[in-house]
């Protein structure tokens, strides 16, 4: 056999092809780890006065019914006066945690004006968020109870002044012609403690019913009149009997301009019979009642 004059001697390549396997493992494994950490949004801390029902690793943060975060840890603040809850947000929900965001804990709540958070009976309490609009921050103060209205842009709020609260509770209905058109948001004492301030919210389609000369009165409880020719019992509804209620009427004739958001009125103890006879013609656009209409989100105000 003839041997080559100048055999070309080549060494095996320094890195055999099989080392692609660990390289591939490194890339895939690294990508898995990186993806896991990229999926995590920011971690925020919320301070609550009371965090009953909140558990690390179990309680979730919900926004519009979707889980957007998970409680990582629950601990006491250094001065033992508050609870600090750490929440890991999911990545796509990071924009919710901005200045002005409000957090509260949703527990099952059953009272005469309705049942709220019934799902928490099974799932335990959860945190709810109302997003802020400022710059992103990581430290928040939680609230003891839900913010007055979860859809602030809906409807119009008015403040009623009264000498006494008269059995009106948060969530109590506001009636117009015995139709529920709004609800009581909060009640508090005035700064000088001489009056009670009740904030109500009239739902969107009915806001124009409230004019600058509208009369408000307490429609809760029942009035009992016993006279010579019999007895008369008056109450607006069973619900208002228990949780209290407010009714209003608007004078007919020349309509006064619609009341502005936040306008103040006096809340009278009793309405006058004449007020119920007022027939102001105010055009409103109530939601359709026909079953064909699509169900849209938000509370339909006339369910009661």
């Amino acid at each position: 056999m003839k041997s080559l004059d100048n055999p070309k001697v080549s060494r095996a390549t320094a890195l055999p092809l099989v080392w692609v396997v660990p390289l591939l493992a490194l890339i895939i494994g690294g990508w898995m780890v990186v993806r896991e950490y990229l999926d995590h949004g920011p971690e925020i801390t919320i301070e609550f006065a009371d965090a009953s029902g909140v558990e690390a690793g179990k309680t979730i943060l919900e926004y519009k019914g979707v889980a957007v975060g998970e409680v990582q840890s629950v601990g006491l603040k250094n001065d033992l006066n508050a609870v600090v809850v750490q929440v890991r947000l999911s990545k796509d929900a990071a924009a919710l945690a901005c200045e002005g965001a409000q957090f509260w804990i949703v527990h099952p709540q059953i009272d005469f004006s309705g049942v709220r958070g019934l799902d928490t009976l099974v799932s335990g309490a959860y945190l709810a968020i109302k997003p802020g609009s400022g710059s992103p921050i990581t430290d928040f103060k939680g609230m003891g109870e839900p913010p007055p209205t979860q859809n602030k842009e809906e409807g119009r709020a008015f403040v009623l002044q009264s000498d006494r609260l008269g059995g009106i509770t948060t969530g109590a209905p506001v009636y117009f012609r015995e139709m529920k058109v709004g609800a009581v948001e909060t009640s508090q004492l005035s700064d000088d403690s001489t009056r009670v301030l009740v904030r109500i919210r009239i739902y969107t389609p009915y806001v124009d019913l409230v004019r600058t000369n509208t009369k408000f009165w307490n429609a809760g409880g029942l009035s009992l009149k016993v006279g010579l020719f019999g007895a008369e019992i008056n109450t607006t509804s069973i619900e208002s009997l228990v949780v209290g209620g407010i009714a209003f009427a608007t004078p007919e004739g020349e309509l006064a301009p619609p009341a502005a958001d936040g306008a103040q009125f006096t809340l009278l103890d009793q309405g006058e019979k004449d007020w119920l006879k007022w027939q102001p013609k105010i055009s409103i656009h109530p939601p359709e009642i026909t079953p064909a209409s699509p169900v849209h989100g938000g509370e339909i105000p006339f369910v009661h």
């Binding site: 396997v21 493992a25 898995m32 896991e36 690793g57 979730i60 099974v122």
Partner: protein, 179 residues
Amino acid sequence: MKPLKSFSNSANITLAASLALAAAIMLIPANMLPIIYTQNAGRIRTDTIFSGIVGLCRQGWWSLGVIVFIASIFIPIFKLASLAWLIFAARQGPGAHARRLTRLYVVLSVIGRWSMLDVFLVAFLSGVVQFGVFAKVEPRSGIIAFAAVVVLTVLANEAFDPRILWGSPASNTPQPSSK
């Protein structure tokens, strides 16, 4: 023929080493990432292998915790360490410990196929426990990395030829390429 044979042996070792290294790399995401997501009456958990073991022990299931620890943490690491030792020994050439090392190799081959406990558990639970809001189990990415560790280790084990440990009288010393 002899040089070719010795070349193929060293290639086998290289292949086994690269597969073992890949398995060792995948061991990191397998243990770092959550492997399972469970939702039971609103209680939500995502567990890594280790947090699952801790959870079992906390609930008093000590024996189960030990079994899962052995099957999911101890054995994969033991297998990789043993493989590394075998590969290292094979590169040193045939040695005096051939009998013991071969026995170790046989042990690795036997336990290799039993290491999928976690994978089977997660796959089984994900398939069976789907009760909507009441209970739900879903796999998480860590279990894929864990399965990759097991498969790569078994492949590395298969690529490794224990005969290298013994050598033959003729090939005890590497043959010069020109006779």
